[in-house]
Subunit: 188 residues, 2 copies
DNA sequence: CGATTTGCCTACAGATCGTAGGCGATCGTA
DNA sequence: TACGATCGCCTACGATCTGTAGGCAAATCG
């Protein structure tokens, strides 16, 4: 009986693909076992169970988006940086819906530290350096921006924009315009 | 054997409580059956299954928040209306986390029409009437606002704000200030 | 008061989770 | 090359959940 060459990393990547193709709910021990051609019990020596599996997808997604975001922000500032960062998030949500959904899972506190989560906050903060938001309001601005980056794709993927004009792309551009203006003229 | 007096409405309400107390994942046929003191099979004559159950919680949550929002917006305009509407959403998310999570579920298209979903868009639009956002940008502004109303509580409940200062309440107020200013000075 | 309806039941088949323990492939060592 | 230890995936199992079929008794109606 040949060995399948499983390990936690390989499984996490396979789980991520599964999430994107069939939804995060499909990411289960038995579902993943089917996909990698192995018996469910075989997975338990590599991952702790379904919850663990999904958390690994979440960590993967956070890493991926952080890397993409770092790339997008590098060498840009102000409006350019804002748009680039925002598009990374929205594009990722649309291209990798399962991973993006996973990245919304609540991480156990001990995993947060080592995760890419804090890097996202840092990258958002970096975008703000192109504007002159007062330091005292920096966190508020980061959270507001983060809310839009999480909320817009969430509504978009949820189908909330499907039955009204104009299309989502148009209003997204307009919303980013508005955010740019807001950051430039942040109230004091 | 006494009858339990079950019906779809009673079950939906019990499921909503269950969601708030133990999380939306706990809303299952067997979980609900335990809670209402009945055998799982007994529920299938009232609801179609776990998915149906959760959708009913979602519809309930949309109705409840729409009613609260309508109340909050009534008789207010401009900044007052904005803050009142926003607080309804955030307060609901914190008080009823399970229901709020359910309201994020993707509804089958045929349910959307009869749901309170469109009413939420209408209420947000009503808030905008207190500002002079150009009609062509109204949808963009509605979606931007909606993104924050969805995104901020999402990050907040996800624990994203737990380990940084200042506290979430403070930055929320500041973010609403900023949105108010943005809507008042919407870029043309 | 008897007949029908209706609500919750028991029983069951299928699937999943997670654990225990086995067997053979692989690898280190001589 | 041969042998022994390790380790990876296996089978087997118990517990739980989903959803269906059919039964019995409580409620309702003539």
């Amino acid at each position: 009986m040949p060995r399948a060459g499983l390990n936690p990393e390989v499984l996490a990547r396979a789980a991520a693909e599964l999430a994107d193709e069939e939804g995060l709910e499909a990411v289960t021990v038995s579902g993943l076992a089917r996909r990698v051609g192995v018996r469910p019990a075989s997975l338990y020596s590599h991952v702790a169970g379904t919850t663990d599996l999904r958390l690994r997808v979440a960590l993967l997604a956070l890493e991926e988006t952080a890397a993409l975001a770092a790339d997008a922000v590098a060498g840009r500032s102000g409006r350019d940086a804002l748009v680039a960062l925002a598009d990374v998030h929205r594009d990722y949500a649309r291209a990798r819906p399962g991973c993006w959904a996973a990245s919304q899972l609540r991480l156990p506190a001990e995993l947060v530290v080592g995760s890419a989560g804090p890097r996202h906050a840092e990258l958002t903060r970096a975008v703000l350096r192109g504007y002159d938001v007062p330091p005292a309001d920096e966190v508020a601005a980061v959270r507001l921006l983060g809310s839009v980056l999480r909320g817009y794709p969430s509504l978009e993927l949820g189908g909330g924009f499907d039955h009204s004009e104009p299309d989502s792309e148009t209003t997204w551009r307009r919303a980013l315009d508005a955010l740019d203006v807001l950051l430039r003229a942040w109230p004091r």
